[in-house]
């Protein structure tokens, strides 16, 4: 079917398909990748676009869903939880940047791990990350449902006592998947504007709120005790809110489309983590200063709307409601797209049937992969448990992040000839080592149920690999 070269006669799955190679990962020059047949693959996403993908994916969760939940668990120390998350994300973003500039190919973390550590870890990560993104998308959609319901309530529609959150989330999940199936011409440009608008609203809101909390416009708010429940909740909360930092790896899943990847990939990944990290910490600070963590936690997923109302009245509340709708939709949409790319990456390597990477002839969209993204999302949305969805998504991503750090160490230890990253992590052993330990360590602080679901998915992925694709070789195959 395809035109890439088959990697090896031995390396086949149950259906006799082999991994396909389209282009040398190193055959990337500025604006194009050249395939083995000489076709050019244009790179069209610049630095702004890359940062918009990262920020757009992440911002929905940390600001618009978590503040209430996190403050309820950890008090003002929730700001510390977000800071811990940012540090771990940065520790992983650096190795991810190095690997991505050495192999600027779509597929992101899965690609680096399968090439650096082999097919079994690759398959486990590839399949887990598909499902991890499915969990993340479901989480964003439930967040969206909460905002849509709050907006209806604001508009005076009597929704009290009627469970509208899940139906609204389901409806939008179907709509987003359908939209992506039939092709959205200017989605990326739109994403840039949405992210710009969001950042503007947030900077105004947080700037004013921050100054107010510090006492510029009146008496400073009485500080609450920073660790009302002791240090442990700060870490368990960090494990919960880590979902707010998953987006930087999504930049790596579109690495094949990023212009001048040697420069733009590291900047986009590290930059987007820094931007959202600062915004999250300030948000928690402002929110807990305005209300104290107890009332905040009672407001639930849309707590930040009440914070805005306390500063700017109903206009502020409405602005933040709209921002919340935009942010959760943009996160959900970016995740659906990443999911479809994750499916493509494993299917190209024959770890799942190749039919998954077929394109629809009428619209030119990857309809099978999109269905494999949207379908399971709807099942999980119906399940509706925000905290479990978020933690399982984080679990599966953290496993990938940890292994990614290990892959960097493996790559550097015996550097293959082709390994020539434009960006090299300074003190790589320390950075990647701490990154790996921190990633795996954070998993230990999650709820039992999330750990069990995450582990079950990984085992199932390993089982699938043994059954379907145990002869596929990927380590060092480029």
């Amino acid at each position: 079917m395809g035109t890439g070269t088959d990697v090896g006669a031995e390396s086949t799955n149950l259906a006799g398909e082999s991994p396909e190679q389209v282009a040398e990962p190193t055959a990337a020059e500025g604006e194009t990748t050249v395939t083995e047949e000489g076709s050019e693959l244009e790179r069209t996403i610049g630095l702004t676009g890359g940062i918009a993908i990262g920020v757009g994916t992440m911002i929905g969760a940390g600001i618009f869903v978590f503040p209430g939940l996190a403050a309820g668990r950890a008090g003002p120390a929730a700001a510390g939880s977000f800071a811990i998350g940012a540090v771990i994300a940065l520790l992983v973003a650096l190795p991810a940047s190095e690997l991505a500039t050495a192999m600027p190919k779509s597929g992101g973390g899965y690609y680096f791990i399968s090439r650096g550590l082999g097919a079994l870890p690759g398959a486990v990560v590839g399949i887990s990350i598909w499902l991890g993104l499915v969990f993340a998308t479901a989480f964003y959609l439930v967040g969206f449902g909460n905002y849509a319901a709050a907006l209806l309530a604001e508009a005076g529609v009597p929704v009290e006592g009627v469970p509208v959150v899940v139906p609204l989330a389901l409806l939008f999940g179907v709509a987003l998947t359908a939209l992506n199936l039939v092709g959205t011409e200017n989605a990326a440009k739109l994403q840039n504007y949405v992210v710009g608008l969001l950042l503007t609203i947030l900077v105004v809101f947080l700037g004013y709120g921050g100054l107010d909390a510090l006492g510029v416009f009146g008496a400073p708010s009485a500080p609450e005790r920073f660790l009302p429940f002791g240090p442990l909740p700060m870490f368990t909360t960090a494990a919960l809110v880590f979902t707010s930092y998953l987006g930087f790896a999504q930049v790596a899943t579109v690495a094949g489309d990023i212009k001048n990847p040697g420069r733009n990939l590291p900047l986009a990944m590290v930059g987007s983590v820094l931007i959202v990290g600062v915004l999250y910490v300030v948000t928690i600070f402002v929110a807990t200063s305005a209300f104290g963590s107890d009332p905040l936690s009672r407001f639930g997923e849309t707590a930040i709307v009440e914070v805005a109302r306390s500063y700017f009245g109903n206009v502020g509340a409405l602005a933040i409601l709209l921002a919340g709708l935009l942010a959760t939709v943009s996160s959900a949409n970016a995740s659906i797209l990443s999911t479809s790319r994750a499916v493509f990456a494993v299917s190209k390597d024959a770890l799942v049937p190749k039919v998954a990477s077929r394109l629809n002839l009428a619209y030119g969209t990857p309809h099978v992969a999109l269905a494999m993204a949207g379908g399971p999302v709807l099942v999980l949305v119906a399940f509706g448990e925000v905290e479990v969805l978020a933690e399982v998504a984080s679990f599966l991503h953290l496993v990938m992040y940890g292994l990614l750090c290990v892959a960097l160490i493996a790559m550097r230890r015996d550097e293959p000839e082709w390994y020539d990253p434009d960006f090299r992590v300074p003190a790589y052993r320390a950075v990647a080592g701490v990154g790996a330990v921190a990633s795996f360590g954070l998993i230990a602080f999650m709820q039992r149920v999330s750990q069990v679901i995450g582990l079950a998915i990984m085992l199932a992925a390993a089982g699938w690999y043994k059954y379907y694709a145990s002869d596929v070789q990927l380590k060092g195959v480029l």
Partner: protein
Amino acid sequence: MTADEPNTSSESDRDAGARAIREPPRILVPVAVLEGEALSEPLAAFLAPSEVVVLGYHVLPEQTPTEQASMQFEDRAQAAIEDIAETFRAAGRDVETRVAFTHDRDQTVERVAEDVGATAVLLPNPAGELRDVLVPIRGAVDPDRLADLLATLLVGGGGTVTLWGVTKPDADFDAEAAVADARELLVDRGMATERMLAEATTSESPVREIIERSADYDVVVMGRGAEPVYSALFGDPSERVAGGAVAPVIVVRDREV
């Protein structure tokens, strides 16, 4: 190939003109290769005196990775571009071909044009027999490149060329002088004077007038004519002409500064 390589035209009647060519023109022909866009034989024959690079491109929706599309469509794209190259070979011109999968047509065309050193880009429209050329001159065109292109395409063949200076009434551009210069440059390159018409008019909306007039001609040759703000909203004037006209439009590229 570099720009100052000698013109390789072998037909003797073309030599007189070819000798005076400063910079042999190189035309980029972008074709939406998987959408069944083809190139007519007369158009290929018309372009054949010039060097030609055919770019087969396929625009993908943003959610489709270019790599994924190339796995499925590369063979078809390569075969289709080969057909087009064959059309040119039949007209006596061996062409360079490129295939690109992209999310952004304009970026790809611009990049390849720069890459191959194209002096002009074809904006295709259906074409029959090509004889009469309309050359609207609005200021924004490199006169030497324009003359080299016209002389290369026309001196050895038949047909006429109408040099038409067209400006807005209040424009700070001497259309008559520009037309006279262009005519002079063409004469230098061996173009017979009886095949040239030169005129200049003013118009409130040059683009609309060019589109209207293009109906009486077989092909339009013009500069890109970019006006920064307006172009960002509505596209370059040349693109708007190509969109409205029935005839193919050849856009002379500005020299890179």
